[in-house]
């Protein structure tokens, strides 16, 4: 905002503490879900890790029964005795089996709850962050958007937020799961055999480090692959953009060879990535089974020398298998965590950005029109005053110098000048996309910076040079500015009801009728009638493709519908033929009575009818006056007009 601001400000960064705090805040917001998730995880593990004990017991029972029966068979006791003993053992084993089944069902039920709550919490956080990002993006000004390309912005909102979600969901699930599984399983394992437990765990740190190493390699190689993908894409982009040149020079073969080289490089990098991926897979497989190997080597010795019952052996093995997967999960957590933090940093670069253009603490609304709004007898509105305004997009290169303009309320003025003379910048300052470096702009007596930004904009009908339309229906595009007035509680201005056509003067109309009239004022009614679905026709790929002139007229209708206090047409009729232009200007004359219209144009038939013309050159007002005055003075304006007339003769 100050003129001392440097040309390229240092890249916006959010410090680590602020980021960590924010990260924690999202977690706290869903703490009940995470808590519930942790509890259900605990229950899941409690149930599923109780199974090995019953399994061990069952095996041990059968083993003992078998040994006994062998012993009895050896002493050739009565068969009935054996059968009786078997029946008793059998019922015990069956009880164990029933317990196993019940525990499994319990574990299964709780697993559903734990997985859904934790993953859902991630989705809720993702939902919140996306909404917050969108809200923030809606407030950021053009300076921000010129510092961050569109693709970058959208990629942060889509891809990076996904990584942040995984950071919460995956990290929490695996860390808690591993903690619980280890606590329960280790406790049982140590109770069964401490030495064997230590031996089994001995391999895990090594494996864990290996997994971590491989995942890090995996992610850094993924970055390389993505960069190569980007290089290949930009190669394709370059080729498609220059397709005419490629064809004129018969460069196809060269281009194909060039693309093929990038493609080959991409393939090579991908194969390097495969190395890491294959390595990770192999490690995971090894981790899942290496514990069993240790049990098999050391445990079997103990069973054979009698220091460990067979049931314990089976039970122990089941625990080893049960903690293998949480361990693998922890290896994954490292990389998800790293990637998530990096993504969150990028997210924060939008989230914590403050717009340069914002309301001052004591900002107020524009003075309201008299109750009999819209009728011609009301006091005119829309007085605009520039006082010593100086402005540049960067401090070193001012675009506007010493602008002093007073546009009386209710008048129609025009700005003319060559491309780059600063006309559009002037319009952008009025809509407060930027604040002047020096001087001030007043609307109806109040400095723009003292007014509520959005309230003021809601009174300005701005038709930009580039007629941007959204992919929605024609009708929705026309009523685009009405949406806020009707549905947004933070905007105090009510939706206007005034008629747009003189034939309905003084009538209060429904918005449907007003939309019809706005379309008619913009001279678009015939075009719209020719579409089978009329105003419900979709704009864009699935609907009609509008011509440049149709788009311009639609953006004019859009601006008129909000019944603006100040209407700014920034070269908005350049693709409209002069006859239609005259008709639109005629109808505007009624509509904008008592309001201010500002035209930026080259066409002299529009210039002949305005109250005052300002001629801009290299950011300064060099001439001003009415059309006739300026012609008489035979200055810049007169010669410009001369050339313009010639051009129009040529083109006619």
């Amino acid at each position: 905002m100050s003129s001392t601001q440097s040309n390229s400000p240092p890249p916006f960064k959010v410090d680590r503490r602020t980021r960590r705090k924010r990260l924690w805040q999202y977690f706290v917001r869903y703490k009940s879900l995470f808590f519930f998730g942790a509890i259900t995880l605990l229950l899941t593990n409690a149930f599923s890790l109780a199974i090995p004990a019953y399994l061990g017991e069952a095996v041990q029972l059968m083993r003992d029964a078998a040994v006994e029966s062998q012993a009895q068979a050896a002493t050739s006791a009565e068969a009935g005795n054996i059968l009786e003993a078997f029946a008793a053992v059998r019922s015990e084993v069956v009880t164990a089996a029933i317990f196993i089944i019940l525990l499994s069902i319990g574990a299964g039920v709780f697993r559903v709850f734990s997985r859904t709550t934790i993953f859902n919490a991630g989705r809720h956080i993702e939902f919140d962050i996306r909404n917050e990002l969108y809200d923030k993006l809606a407030t950021l000004d053009p300076r921000f958007y010129s510092s961050m390309p569109t693709g970058d912005v959208t990629s942060r909102v889509t891809n990076d937020v996904t990584y942040v979600r995984l950071l919460y969901a995956i990290t929490f699930l695996h860390v808690i799961n591993a903690a619980i599984a280890y606590t329960i399983a280790l406790q049982r394992m140590i109770a069964l055999d401490l030495a064997l437990t230590l031996w089994c765990l001995a391999t895990y740190p090594v494996m864990l480090l290996a997994v971590r190493f491989v995942t890090q390699a995996l992610f850094s190689q993924t970055k390389i692959v993505q960069a190569q993908m980007a290089a290949m894409s930009s190669r394709v982009q370059e080729n498609l953009a220059g397709v005419n040149v490629v064809k004129s020079y018969s460069l196809e073969e060269h281009e194909i060879a060039d693309f093929s080289r990038e493609n080959q490089q991409f393939y090579k990098e991908n194969m390097k990535l495969s190395l890491a991926r294959g390595g990770l897979d192999a490690l995971v497989i090894m981790m899942a089974t290496v514990g069993t190997l240790v049990v098999l080597i050391l445990g079997s010795q103990k069973v054979i020398d009698g220091s460990m019952p067979l049931g314990t052996f089976v039970e122990f093995n089941a625990y080893v298998v049960a903690i293998a997967f949480p361990t693998i999960g922890m290896g994954w957590v490292f990389s998800v965590w790293h990637r998530g933090l990096a993504a969150f940093e990028r997210v924060c670069e939008i989230l914590f950005r403050e717009p340069e253009i914002k309301d001052s603490p004591d900002a107020r609304t524009l003075e309201k029109p008299a109750p009999s709004q819209g009728t011609s007898d009301a006091a005119p509105l829309g007085h605009v005053r520039f006082e010593n305004v100086q402005f540049g997009y960067s401090a070193e290169h001012p675009v506007l110098h010493d602008i002093n303009i007073d546009i009386p309320a209710g008048s129609t003025v025009a700005f003319v000048g060559r491309t780059g003379s600063g006309k559009s910048t002037l319009a952008k300052l009025m809509a407060r996309f930027y604040d002047p470096d020096q001087g001030r702009i007043l609307i109806d007596g109040t400095p723009l910076t003292d007014l509520l930004l959005r309230e003021t904009r809601s009174e300005i009908g701005f038709v930009p040079q580039d007629p941007f339309l959204f992919s929605m229906t024609l009708g929705q595009n026309v009523r685009f500015g009405l949406d806020a007035l009707e549905y947004d509680d933070t905007i105090q201005r009510p939706a206007p009801t005034r008629a747009l056509l003189e034939s309905h003067h003084g009538q209060q109309l429904s918005q449907e009728q007003r939309i019809q009239q706005a379309v008619e004022v913009a001279g678009l009614n015939v075009d719209i009638d020719s579409f089978p679905e009329g105003l419900d026709t979709l704009v864009g790929e699935r609907g009609v493709t509008l011509s440049g002139g149709q788009k311009q007229r639609l953006t004019i209708a859009r601006a008129l519908l909000i019944d603006p206090r100040i209407l700014i047409l920034d070269d908005a009729l350049s693709s409209v033929d002069t006859q239609t232009e005259s008709m639109i200007l005629d109808r505007l004359e009624y509509l904008m009575r008592g309001r201010t219209s500002i035209l930026i144009t080259h066409r002299f038939n529009a210039l002949a009818r305005v109250d005052k013309i300002y001629v801009l050159d290299e950011g300064r007002i060099v001439e001003s006056g009415t059309h006739h005055e300026l012609i008489k003075s035979a200055g810049v304006y007169a010669s410009m007009l001369e050339r313009q007339k010639l051009r129009e003769q040529l083109e006619s």
Binding site: L55, V94, I101, N131, M229, S274, F470, S510
Partner: protein
């Protein structure tokens, strides 16, 4: 919406009216709702898989080896429970230490073997899959290169790029590991069934009693998951479209203070997306849990039934433990089946889009028996040429003119008169709608397209430089051009000094589209290139870009030198160029309305006279004050 409502609010005070606005009704279409979603379904799954196989065919040996590895891999994995069984039955129960070391050794060997073989198989499969994808991308790119200019006019660059990059990428999983893993899973499943039946068919049947339930459950959930995933995909596309458009149109949103309304729309779509995801999470978790539960129930069943058998000595304890282990291995692939299926589905959708592009065949007609290019200098004739980019919107209306060998012709006219179209037609980017373009009396459509185009050197305003050295760019990949030739050409058009000022001179690397060079420097390079390739005809669209006065003088001289070397057709923007031309064609609304030398046309004081006064008179005064009088 309601008249009374708004009237009231207009009259009442600022504070009291706030809450009277009705809440936003759910809109049928928000920002971005006009985005097209790709229509699919022109090919059957079978056709698509067959065509994909076409790309795998060259690497079928690798593919075959991978398939042969699969039984081995399953074997390693299925050996483990067996070894455990042996350990229990032969060593643990009878407490016999002899040979237990071997069992442990073999167990360790299966772990290592499985890991190594698995790695090898994965890598080999990636090798085949990635190569197939590389070939597919190459084929797509060269296919697109051959498509006609009008195809590019209709298809946005973004869409074509997505076909060649992201769509091919999403094939990767399916092509390089998906299919093989699925085959491997099936082998494992079948093997387990066979092994268990062989070991003890009664116990096996008991173990498998739950399988039908499992199959029904997975079928139901697979269906539900598929629907949920589809929903997620639709919602994410809408979310992305809304965001993308909001960011590009942010200034319009802010101008019309629609930030909050748009944010509400976004939040609604975001909410739909969240719920679609939550649905898929629920189904996924339930499927996961069901498979796990069924697995554990099976475990219970095995113990229940098996204990009776074990106690009566029909099966050994080891067999029982092995059964439990086998059944655990049985359920893992079933659990992951849903995800793999989903992966395959999206791969098929991507392939369909890719194949649609490959099947687009919009090309300029090729001459059946192309005539050889004339060896004598070219005489160019436009004979009553009519052309329109879109139906009935005529850009050229009956243009006729002849350019004799060595002649220098300038085309002038205001924007939209059809000047660039003449160049596009002469270099055959498009074919004429009516009339003919002839070279020495032969219709240009009868020549070989590439050979024909190579006989022109085209210098457009937008200079096309590719990544590589200056030398590469000037030689245009022609190995026969020596550095001497390039240097002398550069010297002729005054580009040499400028090139020598760059680091590494002729070996200077040009970055992306020459972003490290100024507009003037690029123009000079383009001139040098045009001279190097010794064309029959020079076509030049003079740049209007702002360059400093020194460069401007340099360029002007260079153009003059360039034009003296061969027949040339120039879209002239500089007065000096026009004055040096033998003839000027004045184009207006797609017709040649005047033709003659500069002086002749000025004397006539017609359309050219007006154009001259408008466009060149100021330049005239500044640069050539002597002629003004």
């Amino acid at each position: 919406m309601t008249k009374n409502n708004t009237q009231n609010t207009a009259a009442s005070g600022a504070q009291s009216q706030v809450s009277t606005k009705p809440t936003d009704p759910k809109r049928s279409s928000a920002i971005g709702s006009g985005f097209a979603e790709q229509t699919l379904g022109h090919y059957s799954d079978r056709q698509i898989l067959l065509r994909l196989w076409g790309f795998m065919r060259p690497y079928r040996l690798m593919f075959l080896i991978c398939l042969l590895m699969l039984p081995l891999l399953s074997g390693f994995s299925l050996m483990q429970p067996w070894l455990l069984q042996i350990a229990i039955d032969d060593h643990l129960v009878p407490r016999n230490p002899d040979g237990i070391g071997w069992v442990a050794f073999l167990f360790g060997a299966t772990i290592l073997g499985r890991a190594l073989l698995g790695f090898l198989q994965f890598y080999l499969m990636q090798l085949a899959g990635q190569r197939a994808l590389r070939d597919l991308r190459d084929q797509l790119f060269s296919h697109v290169q051959g498509l006609s200019t009008s195809f590019f006019k209709r298809n946005p660059i973004g869409r074509l790029m997505a076909r060649m990059t992201t769509d091919v990428e999403s094939l990767q999983e399916a092509l390089s590991s998906g299919i093989v893993t699925m085959v491997g899973d099936i082998i494992t499943l079948v093997a387990i069934v066979v092994i268990l039946l062989y070991k003890n068919w009664q116990l096996a049947l008991v173990s498998f009693t739950v399988v039908p339930i499992l199959l029904i459950c997975t079928a139901i959930f697979r269906h539900l998951l598929r629907m949920a995933f589809r929903e997620v995909r639709v919602k994410i596309a809408r979310l992305y479209a809304h965001l993308q458009e909001s960011v590009t149109g942010i200034s319009v949103i802010q101008l019309f203070v629609r930030e909050n309304v748009s944010a509400r729309e976004y939040s609604e779509i975001n909410d739909d997306y969240r719920h679609a995801n939550i649905r898929s999470i629920r189904y996924d978790a339930m499927l996961y849990a069901i498979v796990e539960t069924v697995g554990s129930v099976t475990l219970g069943c095995i113990i229940w039934y098996g204990s009776g058998q074990a106690l009566s000595g029909v099966v050994t304890l080891g067999v029982l433990v092995a059964f439990i282990e086998y059944m655990q291995k049985f359920f893992v692939p079933i659990r992951d089946l849903a995800q793999k299926y989903n992966l395959l589905q999206s791969a098929i959708a991507s392939s369909e889009r890719v194949f649609q592009l490959l099947d687009t065949d919009e090309r300029l007609p090729v001459a059946e028996n192309p005539k050889p290019l004339p060896t004598e200098p070219f005489t160019i004739e436009f004979r009553d040429v009519w052309f329109a980019y879109t139906e009935d919107n005529w850009i050229l209306r009956g243009v006729s003119f002849t350019i004799k060998p060595g002649e220098k012709v300038a085309v002038v006219g205001h924007t939209g008169a059809g000047k660039s179209t003449i160049i596009a037609l002469l270099t055959r980017l498009y074919d004429v709608n009516k009339g003919q373009i002839l070279i020495n009396g032969t219709d240009i459509r009868e020549f070989d397209l590439n050979l024909y185009r190579r006989s022109f050197a085209v210098v457009l305003q937008d200079v096309f430089l590719f990544q590589g050295t200056i030398q590469d760019n000037l030689a245009l990949n022609n190995q026969n051009v020596s550095l001497d030739e390039i240097q002398s050409a550069s010297q002729t058009v005054h580009a040499h000094d400028m090139i020598m000022r760059l680091p590494d001179g002729y070996q200077h690397q040009i970055s992306e589209r020459g972003s490290n060079l100024s507009a003037g420097e690029k123009q000079l390079l383009a001139f040098a290139r045009a001279l190097v390739c010794k064309p029959e005809v020079l076509i030049l669209d003079e740049a209007t870009a702002n360059v400093d006065t020194d460069t401007e003088a340099l360029l002007q001289e260079a153009v003059e030198i360039l034009m003296t070397h061969q027949t040339s057709l120039v879209i002239a923007h500089r007065l000096s160029t026009i004055q040096k031309s033998d003839r000027i064609l004045v184009l207006h609304r797609g017709e040649v309305i005047e033709s003659g030398s500069h002086d002749q046309l000025l004397a006539k004081n017609g359309h050219y006279g007006m154009l001259y006064r408008l466009q060149y008179s100021s330049e005239h005064q500044e640069i050539l004050p002597s002629i003004t009088a």
